[in-house]
Subunit: 337 residues, 2 copies
């Protein structure tokens, strides 16, 4: 196992300390690492809190900040956070307008956020993200997995929360965006969990895993390595088949790297995805290319499409200031002493 780490046990805590020190203008680490919160807490709005296993950075901790999450609760690598983490986060960032939990659809996450919801005071609602078109029920999930579409939900609902919308509206908006979002991924290599010390699965030099999950879960099929155009078609076909967008519909396209994929290849995939969309009379109204919802060091990528509307576009474009996503704000520099 080749990783830039000190010890397996301290990977999460050291990485979080580095994140919060680097973005001290945006983030604070609280309660001995139980959660990462916005530095400027706003208790006059609905608090958005997410979390999940680590190893998917910048998700979720890198999405904490103005216009997105108020707090994120990181579990150990690929391990759900515990309810006491969410309870502590609620106590630190939520006010009278209440709390919205954004939960990826994995059994441990769903169960622990549910337990937390029962333990906290004040109004709470939850939305469960399940955007992965590839999944069959697995050891990790019942029903579809939540993958890179989580970013779209956290950004759009985060903007709406910043604008003061109420809890029920935000929960409805989040469910609507989730319902209009589909993703699918491909792995060229496995990830390696630090505590395991060896690759989660093995792929031959001429193979790839279509429909892979963000924990290296098996996909829908293992096939021969193909070119970028063919991969983009294999990922987009089931997405577009489910979403059935019409020409002219405003689409959000996310080309997401899994952690071990260079930027050059992601932009090449973006080009392939756009060509395929164009062939069907479709074009992204907004797009994002980068490694945002990762699987440790896995090489590969996912494509996500959301069918947007005027409200979703306005919210997507609204100011955001987090470690990993930022636009639309006059800010000082994204770093600190």
């Amino acid at each position: 196992m080749k990783k830039l780490i000190n010890t397996v046990d301290t990977v999460l805590s050291e990485s979080l300390r580095g994140l919060v020190a680097t973005h001290g203008d945006i983030l604070a680490l609280a309660d001995d690492g139980k959660f990462v919160r916005r530095r400027d807490v706003r208790r006059d709005k609905v608090a958005l809190i997410s979390g999940g296993g680590s190893g998917h950075e910048p998700l979720h901790v890198g999405f904490v900040g103005r216009g997105m999450l108020d707090a994120a609760c990181p579990g150990q690598v690929f391990t759900s956070p515990t309810p006491d983490q969410m309870v502590a986060a609620v106590a630190a960032v939520s006010g009278a307008p209440g709390t919205l939990f954004i939960v990826k659809n994995y059994e441990g996450d769903v169960m622990n956020f549910e337990m937390a919801a029962e333990m906290v005071a004040g109004p709470v609602a939850s939305i469960v993200i399940d955007d992965d078109v590839a999944v069959k029920p697995s050891a990790h999930s019942t029903g579809r997995r939540g993958v890179a579409g989580t970013l779209a939900v956290e950004r759009i609902v985060g903007a709406a929360a910043e604008q003061g919308r109420d809890l029920q509206s935000l929960a409805a908006l989040g469910r609507s965006i989730n319902g209009r979002t589909r993703s699918m991924g491909v792995a060229l290599t496995s990830c390696t969990v630090p505590g395991a010390g060896r690759p989660t699965f093995s792929l031959a030099e001429d193979e790839m895993e279509l429909g892979v999950g963000i924990h290296g879960e098996p996909g829908c099929r293992r096939v021969a390595l193909a070119g970028a155009d063919e991969i983009a078609e294999a990922l987009l076909a089931p997405i577009l088949s489910e979403l059935a967008p019409r020409p002219g519909d405003p689409l959000l396209l996310i080309v997401n790297g899994f952690g071990g994929t260079p930027t050059m290849e992601l932009y090449l995939m973006a080009n392939s995805a756009r060509r395929i969309l164009a062939g069907r009379g479709l074009a992204p109204a907004r797009s994002l290319v980068g490694s945002y919802v990762t699987s440790l060091d896995m090489a590969g990528c996912s494509l996500t499409v959301t069918t947007m509307d005027d409200d979703a576009l306005m919210l997507w474009d609204a100011p955001v200031h987090t470690a990993a996503l930022r636009w639309g704000m006059q800010n000082p520099v994204p770093s600190s002493a």
Copy 2:
């Protein structure tokens, strides 16, 4: 070779098309891919033009935009761009105030930018970046290599150009920043050049290459794999020995991933680097963590330190709006139709 590509010959052109389509609000691709330029050309300021072999993305094409470069000329992977590319870029973006070439210290780059400088009309100056403390002269370079410190020069001089400083002042500023910037890298794995199809070098499972270059050039020594703290110390010791910062000096710290390194590990390295700096009474006044100056899919990272002053800090913080770096501006969304 496992890469998200179609054919070896079209990697660069397809990736550039994806980049420019994704950031159509910032970038334009010109002259059949000879260069990438700012969409909003400003001929009333000194034009900053850089370039070099591809495979280091987002450098340089992802640094084109307001407050940084006016154009970037990409060569094929790890191959210098040709003088006609720079000449075409000058014709497209430079005005009466002249052109500043920012050139990484590799023989082909230096020679071709020199040839271009002789061919273009109007005032031209060049600065050569050579921030790598590790290098011994190699097949790629005479003297020190230019690596991630290039980002610091392009950002700081880019901000000064945007503010209207003249060509000689900008060249002097760039040389000053370069002289106050040192970097060193470590590779955990080799990169694989698409045209070669196999790793540039080989490392055993328990080895790393200290002082590696951004083309997978040999470093200063191949040693046993170490922990993050030990690696950070090995990289920072020669940097700090040369820069000799005093406690209280404002430092810029860049923790740069080489393309195959996950965000989680980069923030962990940032934590290690900060701890080591703190142990010497030093602290970063600004920092940046991410994969900015890459080597295709190489796993590993580099650390860069620049000793700043009030002017450099003001320029670092000034508004920037590029594909890869952006802060300080009220903008619409970083994407387009």
